[in-house]
Symmetry: C2
Subunit: 224 residues, 2 copies
DNA sequence: ACCATCCTTGACATGATGTAAGACTTCGCG
DNA sequence: CGCGAAGTCTTACATCATGTCAAGGATGGT
């Protein structure tokens, strides 16, 4: 039934290594703690992460060979989750504009859930995370290319560039949220509008005027 | 190379403190070494930087209170240099589209010269560099707002967002260059084209020959 | 030539990462 | 239930980067 994400980049046996229940619990706790803790404190130490997970630092090292390995596992897990969501959305059968919109929506939710991934992890991509990162980008590129073929998107810019540019815009939007200059809803609005515009989609509708600024307290990166 | 940038964020006296010639020489060597060394090795140690500058680690600390202070000085110097170039370009008198183009050009040259600034320094902005960074963005925002007022740019998106989005696109383009997926000229072409498009400027001309290619699907991440 | 300034050497403290060995606890299963 | 294995904890150690300090030598400016 529920297939657990299956431990990503570990250091022990290749994979199919059945682990004891408490081991899985520890791994899960570490991953969760790292996710939330690094979310608003990207340079937290292994000690702090371990403490937040309720284990010892050595236990962390028992499961993740290094700090980078932990980060990579985090990225891989999030990436796998997102790819799953994208696959489930069956975007390949939707018209390109719709597919792009839905892709943007899914991607943004990923960002909302794992703010850390944009702050630092993706800035200096640790080795090994390229694959997971490229998976999502490739899918996006496919959508864009399809839209270009059907004439829905402009062809002046190569699809490969547009894909990374859209991802870059997402980062920028997330940074604005973290900096407190936009709230999450505003950020998503301007981000998706910008992405569509970048792809040459004739601006669909009103960007949702911000005359009424709803103050939905959704900020996440409120570092001191 | 007329006037030296004047020591930026130092730890000693505010500024009016005349330094001995060899001190200035050391500072300059450190700054230069840090610039180039961090360019392709963003996590070089103070020791390495000092060595590259031909001084001792302690000498570096004699001029820069900390690693962050050194980074900040680097950013400030580059920022000041760029602001100077922008001011000299008298962009406020040009028509908005021209001003934006020239701005993009100047900004891109900054990126070309100081690749390090995008890699890491701007990712996790050290305290104190906000001012220098905001200076350039403010100027850009002014241009965009002016273009929106004159009707040259679209008004669907707020100028503040567009400014940071354009800067973000520059980062993305630079990353592509760093990753070897684009060369500098291609990157600049797609970047400037994208920025214009984002601002709603009717696409001026063909960026590249994208004549019905339909051939190979760009380069997709086929790692292993 | 003199003196303040600067550089250098060497040492020290701290904190984070990573490694290692032994004891203790818990899980899985017969 | 009880035993072995897997996992965790404690303690300890090694290493490296950052940052600080003090004393002595070199250099520049006037």
């Amino acid at each position: 039934m529920v297939k657990r994400v299956a431990c990503p980049v570990m250091n022990d046996a290749p994979e199919t290594r059945r682990r004891r229940s408490d081991a899985r619990r520890s791994i899960d706790a570490i991953l969760t703690a790292a996710r939330t803790l690094l979310g608003h404190q990207p340079d937290a130490s292994m000690e702090e992460i371990a403490q937040a997970a309720g284990v010892t630092r050595q236990t962390v090292y028992a499961h993740f060979a290094s700090r980078d390995a932990l980060i990579t596992a985090l990225i891989d897990a999030a990436g796998a989750e997102t790819v799953e969501a994208i696959d489930a959305a069956r975007l390949d059968t939707d018209p390109p504009v719709t597919a792009l919109r839905r892709y943007l929506d899914i991607g943004w939710q990923l960002i909302r859930r794992y703010p850390y991934l944009l702050t630092t992890a993706l800035a200096r991509t640790p080795p090994g995370s390229e694959a997971a990162h490229a998976a999502g980008t490739d899918h996006l590129e496919g959508i864009i290319r399809r839209g270009q073929d059907t004439g829905d998107f402009a062809t002046a810019l190569p699809s490969g560039w547009l894909a990374v540019a859209v991802v870059g815009l997402a980062h920028t939007a997330a940074d604005q949220v973290a900096a407190g200059r936009l709230d999450a809803d505003q950020a998503y609005a301007v981000f998706s509008e910008s992405a569509l515009r970048l792809c040459g989609v004739p601006v669909p509708g009103p960007v949702r005027d911000e005359s009424r600024h709803r103050s939905s307290a959704v900020q996440q990166g409120s570092m001191e």
